[in-house]
């Protein structure tokens, strides 16, 4: 395969449009006559609904309709359980509009559709809901106690799922251990907070019977399938388009949010387009969150520091419902041993219902929590054994010759046992040790201490299972008139630069300019086989599908061109948008080849005229199109990964604690990551840096504050602290490229890489910086100045 643009820092095709403000996000799409929706949401975490009175709202000028559970027909159901699993009994999912009960503050109770959002909000305030509040327990640990009020009467101790996974023989291994390290870690809730909130618009064409839905989703094909099934419409009458989407980060992969069903329903019923543009407050209380877990992790090791066994028990807060199944907990549990050999693992989790917003994936999807647990434990083990944090890792990392390294008994999100396919873990560790200046650091630290400054070095390793199936597809067509190449795939983008990355793959096969490859993704009308964008899979799965497809088109093009140029196939090369006879000036444009391979075409332009100078592209005896041959230069193919492909990396940081403000300053941050072959290093770095910023946010700034009544106390950007540029440090990013042996392009996913290890890295650095203050461990995230003060002030007291 030619590698002209693969691996190069091609600029993005899509940028000029965005830079000029010409993006088309859902709310930018002009739907004349559109009505606007808003929701009445529960102010109680848990309550019975006795009555809903909508009359005043209905009477308001400008209000078109008001919906409750009583007038939404067959949408009054418990929404689908997207990912079933045996360890969940009777999984609870919510209704689009609450019936009889509400289960979290923010849950949708009624929908108002009006001439504009202002009026809709006015009307929503007039809807009188008679609630009877019930007792609640929002604390995760207390929620599983016998005394805790139940979120769902069907689930004792609020346990939604309970799963034990065992790899190897931990019981036997534990007996051989000299030492055990036990810690408890806790990670708090956060939210994706993409700059564009969620949004959905729908229009129903009564003439054609076609429903069109624009949805700022990461899963347009899933949405299409779901809508067709729920509304009992033929799939070809439902078109879902994910237009430009302003960030997703997992929050937008969940389907269906109530609005994704109710807005199309209203559009069909009312005969007008309907838009629901979530506002920021609604995003905080109505769109799903993630991260809350409490781990009790134990490492059983020899006194030399070889970890023989790991035991982990964790509680996973799943919120009031569990539509996404155990995915997050599953990913966390199967990532718990990180990059280490640890051949014996016992990991047990309980997913717990709390009367809070539903939990579904946010970038990292459980990996940050697992990484925090294992990495803090490794630091603690190192400290207890008197071994350096680098050495403890060196002793335990999977070595190059051990790949593929399987963990029997741990089932990853791909439904298969964990199998880490490739990597150079030791080399990454060596590199980071050098890049962060670990050897010189003790001197630097000593000097700082003498000046009364607190400086620390932290590090953490992570692994990331990526590129999940089941599959994605690619469709490529070379256009006969322009010679431009049109590419489709089923998943969609939210800023990852698919239009450029996939174009590079195609450009390399077909010898065209990247700018002449035009991607349309995320539109079921353009291509409707596929899954969605999540779990760092687009480059691996769609990328390889498009690659395979491009090879087919390349072959067709070469065969056709060879016929036209009357040479052998091996004498034809593709470059600069033409097919050339090797070592000659004879060529024919791709447009001409495309034209010639469609035998019905007349010579209606120059390219077509050129095509008629040659013998027809197909053989001449018999029909113009052979049996089994298609006209044109077009192909569709699919890639279905055999299993996940595991990326990894290591982070290190030098942190300083300011005595006055007790805030953590990151003096230097270095990371090494390995996502296999990189199609476009600039885009990869962008993904890593973006993930890293969210990692820092979750480590030092962000926490969804839920009070004891279940209200989110900081449901706004004033009090929920998404960092500005001033809060994110510069970062040095280094690449290792260990190709994945599992797919033709040798790529691994990288979308979530940046955020996974940040918490552990900074906690490790702070523990080091403040060691003399009674060896604080920093075992919970986020780490606030108040918490750092508590550590420093204890020393002052003593």
């Amino acid at each position: 395969m030619s590698t002209r643009t693969f691996g190069t820092r091609v600029k993005r095709n899509i940028d000029p449009k965005f830079l000029r403000g010409e993006g088309s996000y859902v709310d930018d799409i002009d739907l004349p006559g559109a009505l606007h929706a808003t929701f009445v949401r529960s102010p109680f975490a848990r309550a019975k609904i006795n009555k809903i009175d909508v009359q005043d709202a209905l009477n308001m000028e400008g209000v078109m309709a008001v919906y409750t559970c009583d007038n939404i027909g067959n949408l009054d159901i418990e929404l689908p359980l997207l990912i079933p699993h045996d360890c969940m009994k009777d999984a609870r999912t919510q209704r689009p509009l609450a019936r009889d009960d509400v289960y979290y503050v923010g849950q949708t109770v009624a929908m108002v559709v009006a001439i504009n959002r202002y009026v809709a909000e006015d009307a929503a305030l007039l809807i009188d809901v008679d609630y009877e509040p019930l007792p609640v327990e929002v604390d995760l640990e207390k929620a599983v106690q016998d005394s805790a009020p139940l979120v769902h009467p069907t689930h004792p101790n609020n346990i939604a799922a309970d799963l034990v996974q065992v790899s190897g023989d931990p019981d036997a291994a534990i007996l051989k251990a000299d030492h055990v390290t036990k810690i408890r870690v806790e990670v708090e809730r956060s939210t994706a907070a993409s700059m564009e909130t969620r949004s959905v618009a729908a229009r129903y064409d009564r003439v054609s019977g076609e429903l069109t839905v624009w949805d700022g989703t990461q899963a347009p094909l899933t949405v299409r399938g779901g809508l067709a099934s729920i509304f009992e419409m033929d799939e070809d009458k439902v078109r879902v388009i994910a237009p430009d989407v302003g960030g997703g980060f997992g929050q937008k992969v969940m389907f269906p949010y109530p609005d994704e069903l109710l807005v199309p329903m209203a559009a069909m019923e009312l005969g007008y387009p309907v838009k629901y543009i979530e506002d920021r407050r609604e995003n905080f209380i109505g769109s799903n969150q993630e991260r809350k877990q409490i781990h009790d992790i134990e490492l059983y090791a020899t006194k030399e520091g070889e970890v023989l066994a790991l035991k982990d028990f964790f509680l996973h807060d799943t919120g009031a419902f569990i539509p996404y199944g155990i995915a997050i907990a599953q990913v966390a549990s199967t990532s718990i041993a990180g990059p280490y050999k640890i051949p014996n693992i016992h990991v047990h989790f309980q997913a717990v219902y709390t009367p809070t917003i539903t939990i579904t994936p946010y970038r990292g999807c459980g990996r940050p929590q697992a990484c925090f647990a294992i990495e803090r434990a490794m630091d603690q083990l190192a400290d207890e054994l008197g071994i350096s944090r680098f050495e403890i890792r060196r002793k335990n990392l999977i070595t190059d010759d051990q790949f593929p390294y399987a963990r029997e008994g741990l089932m990853f999100a791909d439904g298969l046992r964990v199998s880490m396919d490739s990597g150079q873990y030791i080399r990454a560790l060596d590199m980071i040790e050098e890049k962060i200046g670990a050897k010189d650091f003790p001197k630097m630290q000593e000097q700082a201490r003498n000046e009364g400054k607190h400086l620390g070095l932290g590090l953490a390793f992570y692994v990331e299972g990526t590129g999940l199936g089941p599959y994605e597809g690619g469709h490529i067509k070379i256009h006969p008139i322009t010679g431009k190449v049109y590419v489709n795939t089923g998943l969609s983008g939210q800023g990852q630069g698919h239009d450029t990355v996939f174009a590079q793959i195609v450009a390399d096969q077909l010898g065209v300019k990247v700018e002449d490859v035009i991607l349309t993704e995320g539109d079921s009308g353009a291509f409707d086989w596929g899954v969605a964008t999540f779990a760092s899979r687009a480059a691996v799965v769609s990328g390889n599908a498009i690659h395979k497809t491009a090879k087919i088109v390349r072959k067709k093009t070469i065969v056709a061109a060879a016929n036209m140029l009357e040479v052998g196939e091996d004498e034809v090369e593709l470059r600069d948008g033409h097919a050339w006879v090797v070592n000659s000036n004879r060529c024919v444009s791709l447009a001409a080849v495309a034209t010639a391979t469609n035998p019905l075409r007349y010579a209606f332009n120059e390219a077509a005229k050129a095509a008629t100078q040659f013998a027809p592209a197909s053989k001449h005896d018999g029909p113009a199109l052979d049996e089994g041959q298609s006209p044109g230069l077009e192909a569709t193919d699919y890639y279905s990964p055999s299993c996940a492909t595991w990326a990894y990396g290591v982070h290190a940081a030098i942190v300083e604690v300011d005595d006055v403000t007790c805030s953590a300053k990151i003096v230097k941050y270095v990371l090494i990551h390995d996502c296999g072959n990189m199609i476009n290093p600039t885009i990869v770095e962008g993904q890593v840096m973006g993930g890293l910023a969210q990692g820092i946010a979750g480590t030092l700034y962000e926490k969804i504050e839920i009070d004891e009544d279940g209200n989110i106390a900081n449901a706004n950007f004033v009090d929920f602290l998404v960092p500005y540029a001033t809060e994110i440090p510069p970062v040095e990013i280094y690449h290792l490229e260990t190709p994945s042996p599992l797919n033709p392009l040798g790529v691994k996913g990288v979308g979530e890489a940046g955020c996974i290890a940040v918490g552990a890295t900074i906690a490790s650095g702070l523990a080091d910086a403040l060691e003399k203050f009674n060896k604080p461990k920093f075992l919970s995230l986020p780490i606030t100045p108040s918490m750092i003060f508590d550590v420093i002030s204890d020393e002052v007291k003593n």
């Binding site: 940028d15 993006g23 996000y25 930018d28 840096m689 540029a725 510069p730």
Partner: protein, 174 residues
Amino acid sequence: MKTVKKLTPSKSTDPTRKISLTVNGEAVEREVSVRMLLSDFIRHELGLTGTHVGCEHGICGACTIMVNGESSRSCAILAVQADGMDLRTIESVADKDGCLHPIQQAFQDSHALQCGYCTPGMIMNILSEFESNSKIDTSDEGIRELLSGNLCRCTGYANIVEAVRVAAERMGKS
């Protein structure tokens, strides 16, 4: 119980006001609801959807435009308050033939945008700083200070910082 009205939508009963202003050099006269936010006015009344809405409480900066040459949050201004003012939005920044402004070009060259949602507000903020200062502090700290007030969730800011530095250099402002 029947709870759906079968009416064609009626107009809102909000009090309204006539306003005249200039938007990207063009004179505009409209009658607007007095509570309409300037962000909604620009996007929906005028169809200039390049200005985006991220929070409606003045923190994220996605809605930043220029009012009388000064950066402002359009979500924290009522349309009626813009009466008599001169507005500039992202649509005015590139040339009429679409040729990118040096700041926009620097953004592309530095991969300073991913989803593109925060980008117009980010650029309007940078542009207003560039237009009101002959020299820009292009240290890492100085640029981050200039950018604070605009949230980005995709890029982690590193490339945006680089884009500002590159733009300042190219425009002779560093």
